[in-house]
Amino acid sequence: MIAGEALVLAAFALPAVGSVAIALCGRRPQLRETATLATAVLLLWCTLSLLPTVLAGGRPGVRLFELLPGLAIAFSVEPLGMLFALVASALWIVNSLYSIGYMRGNREEHQTRFYVCFALAIAAAIGIAFAANVFTLFVFYELLTLITYPLVTHHGTDKAKAGGRIYLGLLIGTSMLFLLPALVFTWHVAGTTDFTPGGILQGRLSGFALGGLLALYMFGIGKAALMPFHRWLPGAMVAPTPVSALLHAVAVVKAGVFSVLKVIIYVFGTETLATEASTDWLVVVAGFTIVAASVVALKADNLKRRLAYSTISQLSYVVLAAAILAPLSVIGAALHIVTHAVGKITLFFAAGAIYTAAHKTEVSQLDGIGRRMPWTMSAFTIGALSLIGIPPAAGFISKWFIMSGAAAGGHFAALAVLIVSTLLNAAYFLPIVYAAFFRPLPAGDERQPHGEAPLSMVIALMLTSTATLSLFLFSSPLLQLAEQLVAPK
């Protein structure tokens, strides 16, 4: 087991140490970017080495120290955290590749700060993924918010400052106002905050108190962007696109829904929740968020804004799936964290590539762009298919499980929401694909010829879109992990 412990620690420490190395290489861009990539590759190796143990039912962990008597900073790798860590570390590599092209292509300033904060954010995300108790999760959750603030406000303009205010205000606000009291209350009631299969609250809380605590957790985890606390996500789109891509399709938002899942499965326990009527409201809130965010996305002309609202909607898929409480939908929720991450990062990569190559940001400007940027727009199409949930893209699998769970649990309203949202997804993504490939270039555009974005960006795009397709074909390891959530070995 010692090897397991060492790997867990290494996975957490690598990006943190890497950030120091990146900072030290600040004056030499080549070396700095090599350090980033090397750290990312090592991290993926670490998380991959943990996978067999976890698949075999092992739960490698390490207890670092006690912050307060009885409250330890501790890590323990279970299937869901394994999934999240794998996604975050794998996509970090691709994203670093992409960042290099993007940051150089757009001649961004403060690139060292960018890479340092990025590595630290990944360290925090790994801390969240491997957290063995709510307390540890909370600590890294807050750190992630603070570390990503300089990334969101990277440009330093008034607009970035305003976006940063909303970002920080909502994320710190919700976590301080709701999550912290929820955490202290859990500790007060249960005497522990350890994530335990089956939950730690059964028999200790019921009725209104249980429903209230669930509300504190769900709205306290502002990163899950449940309405009405979703505004930070579109606000954060002022960040450079690689930030939007990794943080707001993967690390930050997925940390949110991941925490939601962890809390529902390991703190409340699905069985405890299923017997309580006071917790049904969550299905309604999540369903409302799915539909409402999709409608907003439909109207948004700014491409990144459309993607942001699409993310809000898709995040609530996970919350909805968890709230349905059926085993199948819980598997779907876990899978959706992965499939949405891969699909959405592809879309963001494409948006950034379009911006870098053509300096276009609005959906209405994209007529005919598919002919100039065929690779980018093909990848975009695959990502869009995945989000709509059409085979052979990965999104189909997770949606299938969520819907099966809803049907099995008799949640027909949830089923209806999912179907409506699928239609809405199609309605806001397919016109972009159509316009890009089948509409002619607008007059006057010929004078500004441009081709594809820099090579490293295109490679990154191709990698994630290929992953989107291959996850559909080779989903068994993911499925194995997710199934352990409902039927522990």
Binding site: L67, L68, P69, L143, A160, K161, L168, L180, P181, F185
Partner: protein
């Protein structure tokens, strides 16, 4: 003669004796070295005392071998040993800083006076903490107060004179109230020994003069600890005093007054008298909440960073008082932990602000535009301390807030939980005013040549910033001592 036996006396005598000697020496360097030696010795002694108390329990020392309650008793228990360590520790860090800092802020011929006053103020504060005698406590309070009025008035800014005068008036009213309270108690019981008072008062909890004494003491000490709405003297005093003085007073003076309040409430009056006969809990609760919200809100609208963080201090004192109002072990633990954590955080913050003054000549927000470009480390340190004021995990402030929330939950008061976290969001607002100015504005043209703070200022400041982070990660010292002290105060543990 065994020196170890006399540590409690030496704790006071060393800094006290160094003050007149510093004046007599008349040489800046010699005075500095002398006072520094005394301060560091005091810090070392306080650590020894803390260790000893941790091993063998509370200890008593009879001054001049007159046994208490007739003679003056020095009494060191879990709470006082922690405070002794805090006060002398802060002094040990601030004093080296002041040598470089007063070069810029105080005229050279006053430097020996500064060191003497500093030593006096330190011995006064240590005296309040160690003494077991009510009148002796008053005497030390006056020593520390008088020296701090003079210290504040040493500031270059002429407004420091009015600030000092304002504090003098308010502080004197407070001291008068305290001496009236002590006098009434003496009248009723015929004793001045705190422990003895506690025993004798149990039989007369309903006597009117005793209740009047309690009222006088509460108001008097509340003035000194700047409890809302008796805080009027504090913002100006902190804002216009020399940097080293601001830092030292912000970190220690109000904290020692809180100690005096705790001592009178829990060791003298005991639980029975105050927390059940009078609505003290509700009164403190309301004042604490008002302080937390009003002062934080006022802080958001300040343009001078020293004033901004001074108002933040008033708000943070609200947290400290809030913990007292719970009248539970967890509540008092929160109070004591926050007392230490806030002292370290605010001390570090004011030292850093002093470095900013040394760098750019002032601390108004308008002047600090783009500060992070010219003084990146100092700015980052201020942000770290600000995060601790907010209560972000990983900083000391988080630990205090955890215990406050836990104490509120133990009482089943959910509304209070939300008020506590809501007020910390106000802290986000005032801290982020600094962040946005320092990081998002372009530096003014005249800041082009400004360098990062010199090491003589940076090292002491970063020691306290480091402590702020350390106490947010390793809480065995702070929480361990605080919970032991809280249990002792409430009589739950020896």
């Amino acid at each position: 003669m065994n020196v170890a036996e006399h540590l409690p006396a030496l704790q006071i005598v060393l800094p006290l004796a160094s003050a007149p000697l510093a004046v007599l020496l008349r040489d800046r360097l010699a005075a500095f070295v002398l006072v520094l030696a005394a301060t560091w010795a005091a810090f070392a002694i306080s650590i020894l005392l803390w260790l000893q108390v941790g091993e063998t329990g509370p200890m008593s020392y009879a001054i001049g071998s007159w046994p208490p309650p007739w003679g003056i008793e020095y009494r060191v228990d879990a709470l006082s040993s922690l405070l002794l360590m805090l006060v002398s520790g802060i002094a040990a860090v601030v004093l080296p800083y002041s040598r470089s800092s007063i070069e810029r802020e105080i005229r050279p011929e006053k430097h020996t006076l500064f060191y003497a006053l500093f030593a006096l103020c330190l011995s006064g504060l240590l005296g309040i903490t160690i003494t077991g005698d009510a009148f002796n406590l008053f005497v030390f309070l006056e020593i520390s107060s008088l020296s701090s009025y003079a210290l504040i008035a040493l500031g270059k800014d002429r407004r420091s004179l009015t600030a000092s005068y304002q504090y003098l008036i308010m502080g004197t009213i407070g001291a008068t109230f305290i001496v009236i309270g002590v006098g009434l108690l003496y009248l009723k019981t015929g004793t001045l020994n705190l422990a003895d008072l506690g025993v004798r008062l149990q039989a007369m909890t309903s006597h009117r003069p005793v209740l009047a004494a309690l009222a006088f003491l509460t108001v008097g000490i509340s003035l000194k600890l700047a409890m809302f709405p008796l805080h009027q003297w504090l913002p100006n005093a902190y804002a216009y005093a020399p940097s080293a003085v601001s830092a030292f007073l912000a970190a220690t003076a109000t904290k020692v007054s809180v100690y005096a309040l705790l001592r009178f409430y829990f060791s003298v009056f005991g639980e029975t008298a105050i927390f059940q006969r009078l609505p003290m809990e509700d009164l403190m609760l309301v004042l604490a909440l008002a302080g937390m919200f009003v002062a934080s809100t006022v802080a958001i609208f300040q343009d001078n960073l020293k004033r901004l963080f001074a108002y933040s201090s008033v708000a943070q004192i609200g947290y400290i008082v809030l913990g007292i109002s719970f009248d539970s072990v967890t509540g008092l633990t929160a109070t004591i932990v926050h007392l230490v954590n806030h002292a370290v955080t605010k001390g570090g913050l004011f030292l850093l602000l002093g470095a900013v003054i040394a760098g750019i000549g002032g601390v108004t927000l308008a002047r600090a535009h783009g500060l992070a470009r010219v003084m990146p480390l100092t700015s980052f340190g201020i942000v770290l301390c600000g995060l601790s004021l907010i209560g972000v995990p990983g900083t000391a402030g988080f630990v205090s807030k955890w215990y406050l929330i836990l104490a509120a939950l133990e009482k089943g008061q959910w509304w209070l939980v939300f008020l506590i976290v809501l007020s910390s969001l106000l802290a986000v607002a005032y801290v982020w005013r600094f962040v946005e100015v320092a990081y998002f504005r372009a530096p003014r043209a005249d800041l082009a040549g400004v360098r990062e703070a010199p090491l003589a200022l940076a090292i002491p400041a970063w020691i306290l910033v480091g402590a702020t982070l350390w106490f947010g990660v390793d809480t065995s010292l702070t929480v361990g001592s605080a919970s032991r002290a809280a249990a002792q105060l409430l009589g739950v543990a020896p």
